[in-house]
Amino acid sequence: MDDIYREQILEHARYPHNFGTLEQPTVSHEEYNPLCGDRVRIDLLIEDGVIADVRFSGKGCAISQASASMLTDEIKGMDVETAKAFSKDDLLTLIGIPLSKNPTRLKCALLSLKALKAGLYGVASVDVDDE
């Protein structure tokens, strides 16, 4: 437990970066985790194939909020093709907490990545667990 609630995670959960919405997003997608009722929406402003700005909104546990906060930091300024290739393992490395043996909390961490990818690919939903 103390592994997953490291100070960095708690900080991001308390004071999430890039929290909010964009007025005219190029892409906006919301993902819902029916298991725990968490929601994460990601708004992207894409200019010349690059993610020029990003915001996320929604409600969820510390893991899902911190994950969204760190992911949005990471992809700001990233080109769209690189962001599309951003994998589950990349995200887990980024947030730096051991969740591989905790499938329930893994879903919390991956919620923002699902929203990002479904938004970028323009599809209703993607399965990032199987990557």
């Binding site: 437990m1 029916p34 725990c36 009722g37 968490d38 546990c61 510390a62 893991i63 909390r105 919390c108």
Partner: protein
Amino acid sequence: MSILSQFDVLAIRREFPILQQEVNGKLVAFLDSAASSQKPRQVIDCLEDYYRRYNANVHRGVYKFSEEATFAYERARGKVARFIGATSPRELVFTRNATEAVNLVARAWGDANLRPGDRILLTLMEHHSNIVPWQMLAARVGASLDYLSLDGEGRLALEELDTKLTERTRLVAVAHQSNVLGTINPVAYLAERVHAVDAKLLVDGAQSVPHMPVNVQELGCDFLVFSGHKMCGPTGIGGLWARREILEAMPPFLGGGSMIKVVELDHSTYADVPARFEAGTPAIAEAIALGEAVDFLNRVGMASIRRHEVELLGYALERLAEVTGLTLYGPHTTEQRGAVFSFTLEGVHPHDVAAVLDSEGVAVRAGHHCTQPLHRLLDVPATTRASLYIYNTAEEIDRLVASLEKAKRLFA
């Protein structure tokens, strides 16, 4: 604790091997029995004894093992039937769980008895298993659904019966006890009202049959469903009780072996009840072990179990009220309430609460507990739930409260 003087909870705990385990360096405080209870040694031994000593299919072989298995399986049916006050073992159908039992009624009884324009009355506190099968039935037959709403304490708004119980209502399905709020519903009163409009009453006993004396004659219902794994029995076994004449008039649910009399090439005739509803090889070991679980519960006594839980319930309500920032859903008194506590903690997501509790060896559940409509009514996406049973102690409630304080400090 002196409050538990008549009930030797420590002796009972010794019967449950899993409770001797440590989690994260602390003796486990298992507070998730509303999801699934733990199993006493005699139930675990019973499963093993069947596989080691007389494993064979039932109602088929003429050899010793099969005869012994058949005898034990049918004896278990008798034990379970008596446990809920059935007048005959023939009124008790073994199912996988309460969910399958509801689906059985919806398919077999519902398809044969509901017509377009008929109505099914549910409540906003129902578990998904007592909602979705009725939605599916309504879609098949062209019926519609009504829901009784709840008051601020999480009790049924009974005055709505005057308008929502109509002459087109064919069935009312209601939980005996809410798996989230703990509310115990006035089933006997509902039965009177339901029968006055010539409808049938199905009671979801998943949360009541394990925790209090339940007698179908006193409830006055027409169907009772329950799950074995919540009452010290194994997973994969549960029950449907139905009034004899209703059960006998019902067409089959699943087709296959054991549920037939004669099979021709183009049609078949069906077995008498309850075999008609038990197609295929049943969960034999599990049924026999559920009979063993019933023996265990009877030895402790259902009235004693209920008394123990009401004492803990009163203590838990007091202790939880001391936790600032905690919102408890459901009745705040012990009156007509079970020992189930769903709550939110200000500033801490229910999943995070459960994870912090787990680090202290306290096992609770977080989520919507298969009651999305109820959580929408409460206007929260999720809650944390602690639920008590026969083996829980006041000390474990103290640990729950101390762990909640730890969660508050961590996320402050």
